[in-house]
């Protein structure tokens, strides 16, 4: 079995998750053992097998392109951490 390569802080950044050094160390060693276990799947012959993304018999569900009532503005903003003037307030994006 190939050794698992895992740069935990790099993957955590891809996931937009700040980890403390202690968390990174613990999660890193746990994930290496989980990923090593997952290499078990290399035993399976998957040549010619189609992937399954979901097990439902329906595909490409269409609906009429019509307007319908949706969540009211104030209901959508009700849980906002910061809002003003009917908008979500976020940190500055462009300098």
């Amino acid at each position: 079995m190939a050794a698992v390569e895992l740069d935990i802080q790099y993957v955590a950044h891809l996931a937009r998750l700040a980890l403390t050094p202690a968390e990174a160390e613990q999660l890193g060693s746990q994930l290496v053992s989980i990923l090593t276990y997952m290499q078990k799947l290399n035993e399976v012959d998957v040549r010619g097998v189609e992937p399954t993304a979901h097990a439902t018999p329906v595909t490409n569900v269409m609906r009429p392109d019509e307007t319908r009532p949706s969540l009211a503005h104030e209901a959508a903003l009700r849980n906002a951490p910061a809002q003003a003037g009917g908008l979500f307030i976020v940190p500055k994006i462009v300098e």
Partner: protein
């Protein structure tokens, strides 16, 4: 004592006007007050709102509403805190949603309301339904009513414990890899995972969208059928819900077992299966055969790959689904100099260890260079696992398995080793990967885990779960088998020994 009844028993009394919805709701609220300090099945409770719903149900009945039109009229039902209820908290067991109030009802919530149910309380769970013990809740674990030193299973542990402890008449949970069936097994109640697409996921906070289904937890198979009837059906807001007619599940109950073929997968008789679980399963199989079923050995050759396949696919989907918790529109926000810093700090502070573990795992298996080796390969093995089941269902009407390798384990027993916790799901995961349906019912007690009478554990020991798996939309067959088994066995009649502190059981 109305809280101790089944839904069927309570609805009979309500229909005859012998009791009111208010009385039934009060009985549940009192039971929660008595027992929940020990069990901790509920994360929040709104007694005034529950009683207002009960009064509405009583008024509707006086105005002529009947059980026929509204099958749950006045029946107190509790929901796992991952199913949206308008104007009630929706924490998903996570600090990242502390203070969040749901702006709308989930599809299943609407259906329960239309059926007349009194919806009360938000039930504890592993954070975002990620776990097998309810120890991953940010608000503390739920305890197993049969033995307070043990876990109730997960992730719908609050739901299973609340039903077992008679804190509600029935509950809804969600099942992504066993999260309804496994806690039902560990708490000795009935848990059903419907076929993928049978029940709308609208308003169910997403963990792994190709695997998630809402399912009932109940005190009897008949009650599970009643709840399934109410929540099933197509919903255009969930494009994966299937526009297939919903059969009359109550009619399915009394079919009996004559002529049914049941499959026993040889790959499930693994080492590590607790001897008392194995014994209970063998006894259940003899009983099912005695009731007229034909039992055959079958093979599900890719069983051994289910855990790895599931934890790649589920975590990949979770890493995408949970990207929405970014501190912008709702939930916790920690400040940052720029949006990226805000996202990282918010998510680092708001998610617990298991959720972080799964998000990072899912991000890794989807990342450039690893996608083909992990995610794509897992999707192909998923195809093989699904084919195993579809082939098996050409030979048999349903598959019989243990629900879990052992009865409930101790709090903390598996916390240090996440892989051991994942392996505990071996018997329930494949059902979600294959998109089929499953039910767990109690099939005995493991006596070696019993304690002295009057103690915090039960003299009977711990409940053991029997799992039945059916083909897509095979719920009527599962209910028919489970009901026949329940009628022929005494196990469902036993109650956990819980009594309010300082009082004797009774």
């Amino acid at each position: 004592m109305l809280n101790r009844l089944t839904i069927a028993e309570l609805t009979r009394l309500l229909a005859r006007g012998e009791v009111s919805a208010r009385e039934a709701t009060l009985a549940c609220l009192e039971q929660v007050q008595r027992l929940d300090p020990q069990v901790h099945a509920f994360l929040s409770l709104d007694p005034a709102e529950a009683l207002a719903q009960a009064d509405q149900a009583d008024a509707a009945r006086r105005a002529g509403a009947t059980q026929l039109e509204r099958p749950l009229l006045g029946v107190p039902i509790a929901l796992k805190d991952i199913i949206a209820v308008q104007n009630q908290p929706l924490t998903c067991g996570s600090k990242i949603l502390t203070g969040f109030v749901s702006p709308y009802d989930a599809a299943v919530t609407e259906r329960l309301r239309a059926a007349g149910a009194v919806l009360f309380g938000r039930l504890n769970l592993d954070e975002f339904a990620m776990g097998s013990s309810t120890e991953n809740s940010a608000f503390g674990p739920t305890r197993n009513p049969w033995d307070l030193s043990r876990v109730p299973g997960g992730s719908s542990g609050g739901a299973a414990a609340a039903v077992a402890a008679d804190e509600c008449l029935g509950a809804l949970g969600s099942d992504t890899g066993g999260s309804v069936r496994e806690p039902a097994a560990l708490c000795g109640v009935v848990g059903l995972k419907p076929t993928y697409g049978r029940v709308s996921r609208y308003g169910l906070v997403a963990y792994a969208s190709s695997l998630d289904q809402v399912g009932p937890l109940a005190k009897s198979v008949g009650d599970a059928a009643t709840l399934l009837q109410v929540i099933s059906g197509h919903d255009r807001r969930d494009s994966t819900s299937v526009p297939e007619a919903v059969p009359d599940y109550a009619l399915a109950l009394d079919g009996g077992l004559a002529g049914l073929r049941l499959g026993l997968p040889r790959e499930y008789m693994i080492g590590g299966l607790d001897p008392e679980v194995s014994e209970a399963l063998q006894r259940a199989i003899r009983q099912l055969a005695g009731l007229g079923a034909q039992v055959l050995e079958i093979s599900l050759p890719h069983t051994d790959y289910a855990v790895a396949t599931y934890y790649i696919i589920a975590t990949a989907e979770a890493s995408a689904n949970l990207a929405r918790f970014d501190g912008v529109r709702y939930g916790l926000r920690l400040g940052g100099a720029d949006p990226t810093e805000m996202y990282c700090r918010t998510r680092g502070a708001g998610f617990g260890p298991e959720v972080k573990r799964r998000i990072i795992l899912g991000t890794y298996v989807l990342s450039s260079g690893y996608y083909d080796a992990y995610y794509l390969r897992a999707q192909k093995v998923r195809t093989l696992i699904r084919q195993d089941f579809l082939k098996a269902f050409e030979q048999v009407d349903a598959i019989v398995t243990p629900a879990t390798p052992t009865p409930a384990f101790k709090l903390g027993e598996k916390s240090a080793d996440p892989l051991q916790m994942y392996l505990y799901d071996i018997f329930t995961l494949s059902c979600n990967l294959a998109g089929i349906c499953g039910i767990s019912v109690v099939c005995g007690f493991a006596a070696k885990f019993g304690g002295p009478a009057g103690g915090a554990s039960s003299p009977l020991g711990l409940p053991i779960g029997l799992q039945l798996l059916g083909p897509p939309f095979g719920e009527p067959t599962l209910l028919r088998i489970a009901h026949a088994y329940e009628q022929a066995t005494p196990w469902h009649n036993y109650k956990p020994p819980l009594a309010p502190l300082g009082e004797s059981a009774g």
